[in-house]
Symmetry: C2
Subunit: 405 residues, 2 copies
C-alpha cells in the first residue's frame, strides 16, 4: 500500500510555494482546496489577543461549510490592528478567486512573528502562483505541509484509514508547532499555541457532528501537548470533510471507526509536535492514572509537563522525581503523596509517600532514550490522562534568546 498523506482522502487539492515571507527559502504560502463547498469545522485559540486571520476565520467557520484554506508562515498577522483584518480578508479573496467560491468560504491562517504587517505584494503574488500548482499528489501534500512550518525542524504528517460498507474512508492531517505551544482551543462561537493543524477526510459527515468530534478528539490530542505553556494568538485546528468516499458517518460502527481514525491522526500529530519542540532532545510522555476526575488527571499531567525544573531534569537524564511529585502537588487537582506511585521508564522511584531505592546509573541511562515515560498513579479515582512534552535544553534558550527578532 502506498504511503497515505494529506491528499489521500478523495476530493482535495493543495499547493505550497515560496513567496519570500520567510528568510529561509522554503514554502511559506499554502492552499488547500475542495472541489465544492464541504462540511468543515475549526477550533481557534482562546487567547484574548487573537491574530487577524483568527478573527476572520471564526466568522467564516461558523456556517460549518467551507471550500478551502489559505495560509502563510513567517508572519503571524497578529497585533496588526484593522490593517491586519483587511489583509486577512484579501488573502481569502485571492484564494476564493482560485477556488471559484466566495471569500467567506475560505479559512485563513498565518504563523510567524507577531506585530508586523503582512508584505501583501508577496502574499498576493504567492497565492496566485500557488493557484497554478494545485494537485493531489504526495508531493503536493508535502509542499503544503512545509508551507506552514516556522521553527519546526521537520514536516508533521499523520493518516489513518478504515473500511465502512466495504469502502475505504481516509482521515489525514498535517500540522506545525515547535515553540509557543500550549494550545487551548475552542469552537468559533466560544473562544480556545502557534499550532496549526489541517485535517482532511473523504467521509460524508454533517457539520454539527464534525465539530463535536473535532472538539472531543482535540481534548486528548492537541490539548494534551505543551512545549512552553505559552498559548499563541494564532492557534487553529481545522477539518474538511469532502464526502468523496460516499460513506456517510452518522452513528454505530462507522462513527466509532471514524472517531478512532481521527483520534489516531490527531494524537500522532500532537506527539510529533512534542518530539519536534524547540531544542527538544526527547519526548516526555506523562501518564496520570487513577485520578479523582478526568479534568484533575489532565491538570496533574499538565503541571508536570509545564515545570521547567522537570523539563531540565529530563534534559540532564536526571531521575529527580521530587520535582515531579512537587509539581503534581501544586496542580489544580486533588493529590495525596501518601497514596501516589511514580515510575520513570517503568522503574518505581516513589511509592505511597516515600522514596523507593533504585539503580541510579541504569535509570539515568534509560532516560537518554528518545521517549521517556513518566507514569504517576494517584489512587484517588479511576480517571486517566496522557500529556506530551519535551525536555528544556540549552538549544531552547539559544533559539529563543540568542537569535533576535
Amino acid at each position: 500500500m502506498a504511503e497515505l498523506h494529506l491528499l489521500s482522502p478523495l476530493g482535495f487539492r493543495a499547493a505550497g510555494v515560496y513567496g519570500g515571507i520567510k528568510s529561509k527559502q522554503s514554502p511559506d504560502i499554502g492552499l488547500l482546496l475542495c472541489e465544492s463547498l464541504v462540511p468543515a469545522a475549526a477550533l481557534f485559540t482562546t487567547n484574548q489577543v487573537v491574530a487577524a486571520p483568527v478573527k476572520i476565520g471564526r466568522k467564516h467557520a461558523l456556517s460549518g461549510l467551507l471550500q478551502g484554506a489559505v495560509v502563510n508562515s513567517g508572519n503571524a498577522n497578529a497585533c496588526t490592528g484593522s490593517q491586519g483584518d483587511k489583509d486577512a480578508l484579501v488573502m481569502c479573496e485571492l484564494a476564493a478567486a482560485v477556488a471559484g467560491c466566495k471569500r467567506d468560504q475560505i479559512l485563513p491562517a498565518s504563523t510567524g512573528i507577531i506585530g508586523h504587517f503582512l508584505p501583501m505584494d508577496k502574499v498576493q503574488k504567492g497565492i496566485k502562483e500557488a493557484g497554478k500548482f494545485l494537485g493531489n499528489s504526495q508531493e503536493h501534500a508535502n509542499l503544503f505541509a512545509d508551507s506552514i512550518l516556522t521553527t519546526d525542524t521537520r514536516r508533521k504528517v499523520a493518516s489513518a484509514q478504515f473500511k465502512a460498507n466495504k469502502q475505504d474512508v481516509s482521515v489525514a492531517g498535517v500540522c506545525k508547532g515547535s515553540g509557543m505551544i500550549g494550545p487551548r482551543l475552542a469552537p468559533p462561537s466560544a473562544k480556545h499555541a502557534t499550532m496549526l493543524a489541517y485535517l482532511t477526510t473523504d467521509a460524508q459527515i454533517a457539520p454539527p457532528l464534525l465539530r463535536k468530534l473535532l472538539a472531543e478528539v482535540t481534548e486528548t490530542s492537541f490539548h494534551a501537548v505543551t512545549i512552553d505553556h505559552h498559548t499563541s494568538t494564532n492557534d487553529m485546528v481545522a477539518i474538511f470533510a469532502s464526502g468523496a468516499s460516499g460513506v456517510p458517518i452518522k452513528g454505530g460502527k462507522g462513527l466509532e471507526s471514524f472517531t478512532g481514525a481521527l483520534r489516531e491522526v490527531c494524537q500522532s500529530l500532537a506527539y510529533q509536535i512534542a518530539s519536534d519542540g524547540e531544542g527538544a532532545s526527547k519526548v516526555v510522555v506523562i501518564t496520570v492514572r487513577k485520578a479523582a476526575s478526568q479534568r484533575e488527571a489532565m491538570n496533574i499531567a499538565r503541571a508536570i509537563a509545564d515545570s521547567p525544573l522537570v523539563k531540565c531534569a529530563m534534559n540532564g537524564n536526571d531521575p529527580n522525581w521530587g520535582r515531579i511529585i512537587s509539581a503534581a502537588g501544586y496542580a489544580d487537582a486533588k493529590f495525596e503523596a501518601a497514596r501516589a506511585h511514580l515510575t520513570l521508564q517503568g522503574a518505581t522511584v516513589f511509592s505511597r509517600g516515600r522514596p523507593v531505592e533504585f539503580e541510579r546509573e541504569s535509570l539515568s541511562a534509560a532516560l537518554t532514550f528518545h521517549e521517556v515515560n513518566v507514569e504517576l498513579t494517584c489512587n484517588l479515582g479511576n480517571h486517566e490522562a496522557v500529556c506530551w512534552t519535551c525536555d528544556l535544553s540549552h538549544e531552547y534558550i539559544t533559539i529563543n534568546a540568542d537569535y533576535h527578532t
Copy 2:
C-alpha cells in the same frame, strides 16, 4: 547609623553553623531564638505535597506564640514519610532544649533536595553546636542568613526602622530562594516555594493582627515573585515579634508605619530573590496598570513573568513585545489588545492594538541593564500589580540539567 540586620530588632539571638549536610562548606544549620514565648505568625506552602517540617510547623504556629526557629539547608526532608515527621520533631526538641522551651514552641524548616532522609547525627550535632554560638551581632545575623541558602549566590537581607512615641521600632528579615520559586502561601489553618523567609521585629503586637498583616503584605511581596512557577513543598514565611521596643502596634499611625516597614522589608527580600534567580542576569519588574481588578492585574503580571518565551527574550535583550502581549492575552483576566499600551524601559512598543515604531538598537541596549521595566497599561479599570522575575538563561539549564542530584 550602623547597618541594620536581622538581629537589630531587640530581643533576638541567632546562630548558623556548618553541620556537614551541604556539600559546600557553608553554614547549613541555623537557630533563631527569642528570650521567651513571643507573638509569631507563619505562612506555609499551598502545595498539597508538603515537607515534614511544614506539617509540624503548621501545628506549632497555630497558637500564635513561638520561642524560635530551627532550620537546615541541603536536605528538604520532603517525601520522607513518617520518618521525616519524626526527624522534624527531633529538630524542634533539640532547639527547644537550647531555648529552654517546649518543642511545640519551635518552628522547624528544611530546604534542599527532596526525597532523602535527614542525616540526623549531623543535624543533632549541628543544633547543639549552634546553641553554643548564639548572639545578636551582625556576624550572628549573617551566619543565620547563610545557613538557609542553597543554590542562592548571595545572602538576602532587608530592614526598616520607624519612630513611634519617640521610640525606634525595627523590622528586619532574611530569606533564601533562587530556584523552585513560585510561592503561593497561606496561613497554617488553610494551606500556601522553596522560599524561606524569617522576619523579626521588636514591636509589641498581638498574634491575630501580626498574622493578618503578614498575609496582607505577602500578597504584594513574596506572592509577587516567580523564578520558574514551581511552587515548592517547603515554602514558609515567618515573623517573630519580641515586643522589646515597648511600642504597642494596634492602630492609627503606628499600625500604618509598621505595615509600611514590614512591606518594605518583604518587597526588598522578594526583589532580591528575583535578582538572584537561578542563572539570572537581570531582574524583570512587570507592572500592570489599570486592570479590571487587583486579582486580574496580578494574573496578567504573573502570566508574563512565567512565560519562558518572554524570559528568553529578556535574556537575549530582544524587545520581542509580541510574546508579552500574547502572554497577557492568555492570563486568567480580562485583557483587550485594542486598549492596551506597553512600554519596555520606558519606550512605547505597542499601543491600542498596533505596533509602535521604536529604535530597535537603542532599546536592545537598554534591555542589557540589570533591571528591566515592563509596564503594561490595560485601560480596563483602576487596579495595579507589580511582579518580579528574572530572565531564563543558559545558566538556568546548566544548574538544573547538567548537575545531577
